[in-house]
């Protein structure tokens, strides 16, 4: 019976052919991760239903006072101030529970982080309240389309 002889260089060939796709996959992963890399603090991680709207804009978010708008409530710096459902139905434009704390705070940049499904009626009331309280620099926060 004849033995099958394996040529000496086949081991090296095999290793190379196995390693090359691995390097390719790692390189692709690295590029994808670097493209979507972000050090921004995730918004409302504990709230499973909360999702920010998606945008094409790339302007970085500066530091500022955060005002979160969720299905459940309105939060100023993570402190719940009012119920969203109540002000969605109410006719009054000024949200008093938000107005007073905003009036007393030092004015700077106000970042509104609204859930993507919130109606503009409520967003409009919040913008109006912030304006009445003397805030001028107001921005909407959204997540870029390159987010993971």
């Amino acid at each position: 019976m004849k033995r099958i002889r394996i040529p000496s260089h086949s081991k090296s060939q095999l290793s190379r052919s196995a390693l090359t796709p691995m390097v390719d996959v790692f390189t692709l992963l690295l590029v994808a991760l670097l493209a979507s890399y972000s050090t921004d603090e995730p918004v409302r991680q504990s709230d499973r239903g909360f999702a920010l709207p998606r945008t094409n804009a790339t302007a970085a978010v500066s530091a500022g006072t955060t005002l979160d708008l969720t299905d459940d409530g309105i939060y100023l710096e993570d402190q719940r101030l009012a119920a969203s459902a109540y002000y969605l139905q109410e006719d009054q434009d000024l949200i008093k529970e938000v107005y007073w704390p905003l009036l007393q705070m030092e004015k700077g940049a106000l970042l509104i982080r609204s859930d993507e499904n919130i109606a503009y009626r409520l967003l409009e009331k919040l913008i109006f309240t912030a304006q009445e309280a003397g805030w001028e620099s107001i921005s909407l926060v959204a997540q870029t389309k390159s987010s993971l």
Binding site: V23, L33, S36, T39, D40, A57, Q131, L140, A142
Partner: protein
Amino acid sequence: MSLLRSRRLRRRPVEESDPRPGLLSIISLLLLLLPFLLLTTSPQKLAALSFRLPPAGEGLPPLPKGTIEELWVQVEPGAVVIHKAIRRSDVDAGQGEADWTQSRITTIDGQPDLRSIQRSLREIKQLDPVRERIRLHPAAETTAAEVVTLMDAMRADAIGELFGQVVLAASK
């Protein structure tokens, strides 16, 4: 002599260099980088959308005079309407006379037809390339996601910038 010639002409076997050490060093570097990036990256990459707001009780500063006197986009149930007033330039036109027109773009499956909106806005931009400001009147029921999408569509299209200053106005 013939022996020497035959030795000279004989080819030496080419030693193939082993590529594995090079590849392994790349892999080890990637294996160090990938977990580090995966652990430190945040799933959300945030962007701020600033919008113009008139100070309480006042209006925005006036725009330099251009061909387009007024321009706003209004969200209505089932459509997005672009309103514009183009200054009349014919000889018999009086001071401040403008032609008011509106283009109604119906939604597709409940979503704004962004391509048609951008096409209309591009035509308007070509009429008045200096104009930067546009007003957006979302409907009361328009969601935040739709507002952001419309703001994006009004700021720029595939060709370039459209209207950089979006004024978020009251719902009508």
